[in-house]
């Protein structure tokens, strides 16, 4: 296993190496040392490598990830795994705002809490949060699934499209056009599968399903309460 020490190389050198000089078959797992909250670590990866970041990371860690399996052994700043396309990004600690924003595919796991707007504008990725999520999570989320093992702050799922949210704890208020729906067998199976992938163990029957009421799909000025 190779290691890269961010106390010795710059972020630019680090990312350049991962983009251009990494042979994942020869080096399938890399330890990343001394991240010290640096921004933009491991962005734009497109290689099936396992990256273990030993410490806290700043904004946009693992942004636009493809294929790679990135684990941050610490907390992360804004927009972890934004626009993720595939692969897995795991945060062992807490995540700041906009975790998994606009993600197209792959899976984002936050073992602690995720702050506001978690899953904003998501477009097909899956996000599993072990703790709570902040306000306006899954705002305008288009596709994919957000699983919250803790509580959700107000404005959950505001202006949802086709993404689905599962919350185990308390929902402190839904956003415009979001509604609770009955859990079907397919939902239980989906949550079970996602929790298993995330390595979390919760009773799936305790989750509630939130999805779009689809009242905003066509502009209706007489539905003033929606706007």
């Amino acid at each position: 296993m190779e290691s890269l020490d961010l106390a010795k190389i710059s972020v630019r050198e680090f990312n350049h190496l991962l983009h251009n000089e990494l042979d994942a078959s020869a080096c399938p797992e890399i330890e990343v040392l001394n991240p010290n909250g640096l921004h933009n670590l491991a962005v734009g990866l497109n290689v099936p490598v396992k990256l273990n970041i030993r410490g806290h990371a700043g904004y946009f860690v693992a942004g636009m990830n493809k294929q790679a399996e990135v684990t941050v052994f610490g907390n992360v700043g804004w927009s972890v795994a934004e626009n993720i396309m595939s692969g897995t990004v795991r945060v062992k600690g807490f995540a700041s705002e906009c975790a998994g924003a606009s993600g197209h595919g792959g899976c984002v796991v936050v073992e602690g809490d995720a702050s506001s707007r978690c899953g904003i504008s998501m477009k097909g990725c899956d996000i599993v949060v072990g703790g709570n999520v902040g306000h306006m999570s899954a705002f305008m989320a288009q596709a994919g699934r957000l699983v919250v093992c803790g509580n959700a702050a107000h404005g959950l799922g505001d202006s949802l499209y086709e993404a689905v949210i599962y919350v185990r704890g308390k929902i402190n208020g839904l956003g415009a056009d979001a509604r609770e729906e009955p859990m079907e067998e397919s939902d239980l199976s989906a949550v079970r599968d996602l929790l298993e992938r995330a390595g979390m163990d919760c009773p799936v029957t305790e989750f509630k399903r939130v999805a779009s009421a689809r009242m905003m799909y066509h502009w209706d000025p007489d539905r003033k309460e929606l706007y």
């Binding site: 972020v11 630019r12 990312n15 350049h16 983009h19 251009n20 921004h39 933009n40 962005v43 734009g44 497109n46 700043g58 904004y59 946009f60 942004g63 636009m64 493809k66 804004w78 927009s79 934004e82 626009n83 396309m85 906009c98 924003a101 606009s102 197209h104 707007r117 904003i120 504008s121 477009k123 097909g124 705002f139 305008m140 288009q142 596709a143 202006s159 499209y161 086709e162 905003m216 799909y217 066509h218 502009w219 000025p221 007489d222």
Partner: protein, 448 residues
């Protein structure tokens, strides 16, 4: 006398205002439309050039060279944008425009050695293939935004706002959300689709600075990054854009177009392009970044004279949207099918308008096949035909630009300067901070 006032139009409640009130009372919803502001405002038409005479020496218009080469984004990128002309094509989405139109834009731009720009909805293979130089927009919606296309781009344009609707998002109505558009945007087909007004992963300029570094890291610092703003608080916004790390700032004045936005936005927000250019240049000067960070100006640029005036005021290039669509047939009373001109007056009438007045891009029912996703309408604008007309139009603008530059004694269009211009109206003089023609008076500037 009484008879006169009995028939006199009420200035506050004109026929246009009465019509607006009637529609609002009938329907209970604001109007959404396309294109840009129609109201009369000070424009580049209110400026004229002081070409050469005894005190200046002109270049021969048909013999002496006048350079138009334009380099954008040279501050940090390893591969700055190099264009043959300072006239670029603005970002317009596949969704608002048909795939045929996007292809025509790319072909014409390639022939003229300039750039085209994607739009909301992502990059289509047709436009990437047809465009030699393609700017990839990063918009708040992030529809279709992905790292594969990012790595195919020649530059990135982060769209913070646009002149037609600064501070507002967008709305693409259901008729335009075809199967292909829906798939690219990951949305259900046929729904009214909202484009957000804020980016999902950053909020203020401090975050944007980090976001820009992320994009630079992903693209290995190869390509320039533009920031596009709608013209409101231009001086502050340009400074913040530069501070955030922009290589190029695009300022879009209130005449800038849109595919679909509330009428109240289009006519009542932002400032005209004329003062916006001046404010942007002053901001760059105050930061000692003029010439280091390039300035592109857009919003109501129609002629070679407009281009020349924008450059003389300090812009490095201009960007065209609506006028490009008009070169492709927008607002013509007919479309061309082989050798035939097919009249579409009835279709304009069905939209409640007429050729020359249409702004119904939002409807998806464009009679000349420019702003549509319906196959039977789209085929009315064939890429070969459109590319030829657009190439001619851009060529004309460039010839007009160099004609004026030579007459001002410049061997390079980028040598045009403020000293070459005066204003014809007090308003334009104040907005552009140029002397009123025949005087030394610049309104708002203290004399001596």
């Amino acid at each position: 006398m009484n008879q006169g006032i009995d028939r006199e139009e009420n200035y506050s409640f004109s026929s246009s205002v009465l019509s607006y009130i009637d529609r609002a009372a009938e329907r209970g919803v604001y109007d959404i439309r396309g294109l840009g502001a129609k109201r009369q405002i000070p424009t580049f038409d209110d400026l004229v050039f002081l070409t050469a005479s005894m005190s200046r020496y002109p270049l021969e218009g048909y013999r002496e060279k006048c350079a138009t080469k334009t380099v954008l984004g040279s501050l940090r990128a390893k591969k700055p944008i190099e264009l043959e002309i300072p006239i670029t094509i603005a970002g317009m989405s596949f969704g608002s425009l048909s795939a045929n139109v996007k292809e025509a834009l790319g072909r014409a731009a390639r022939e003229m050695g300039t750039s085209t720009t994607t739009g909301d909805g992502g990059m289509t293979p047709e436009e990437r293939e047809s465009s030699k130089t393609l700017i990839y927009q990063c918009l708040p919606s992030r529809y279709g935004f992905n790292p594969d296309d990012l790595l195919k781009a020649d530059a990135i344009e982060i769209v913070v706002g646009q002149g037609a609707k600064p501070g507002g998002g967008g709305m693409l109505l259901g008729l335009k959300i075809s199967e292909r558009v829906a798939a690219m945007r990951k949305l259900p087909e046929g729904i009214d689709q909202r484009s957000a007004c804020r980016h999902p992963d950053w909020t203020g300029p401090d975050d944007l600075a980090i976001k820009i570094l992320e994009l630079r890291e992903i693209t290995d610092w190869q390509i320039p990054i533009y920031i596009k703003i709608g013209a409101t608080r231009v001086r502050d916004d340009v400074k913040l854009a530069v501070k955030s790390g922009a290589d190029v700032v695009v300022v879009d004045g209130m005449q800038g177009g849109t595919a679909a936005t509330q009428q109240v936005f289009i006519e009542n927000t932002g400032i005209p392009t004329l003062p916006a250019v001046r404010l942007a240049v002053e901001a760059l000067e105050e930061m000692d970044m003029l010439g280091k960070v390039q300035l592109i100006v857009s919003g109501g640029i129609r002629t070679g004279a407009d281009v020349a005036k924008a450059l003389a005021l300090g812009a490095d290039a201009v960007s065209l949207g609506q006028s490009v669509l008009m070169a492709l047939g927008c607002n013509r009373p007919f479309y061309v099918d082989g050798d035939r001109q097919v009249d579409v007056s009835g279709e304009y009438e069905a939209l409640g308008t007429a050729a020359g007045h249409c702004h119904h891009c939002q409807s998806g029912l464009c009679p000349v096949g420019v702003t549509t996703q319906l196959p039977e309408l789209e085929k009315r604008m064939q890429p070969e035909w459109g590319a030829r007309r657009l190439k001619n139009y851009l060529q004309t603008l460039n010839m007009e630009l160099t004609t004026i530059a030579r007459a001002c004694g410049k061997s390079n269009v980028h040598h045009l300067e403020r000293e070459d211009l005066v204003a014809l109206t007090v308003e334009a003089a104040a907005m552009a901070k140029l002397p009123l023609a025949g005087t030394d008076w610049i309104p708002g500037v203290k004399q001596g």
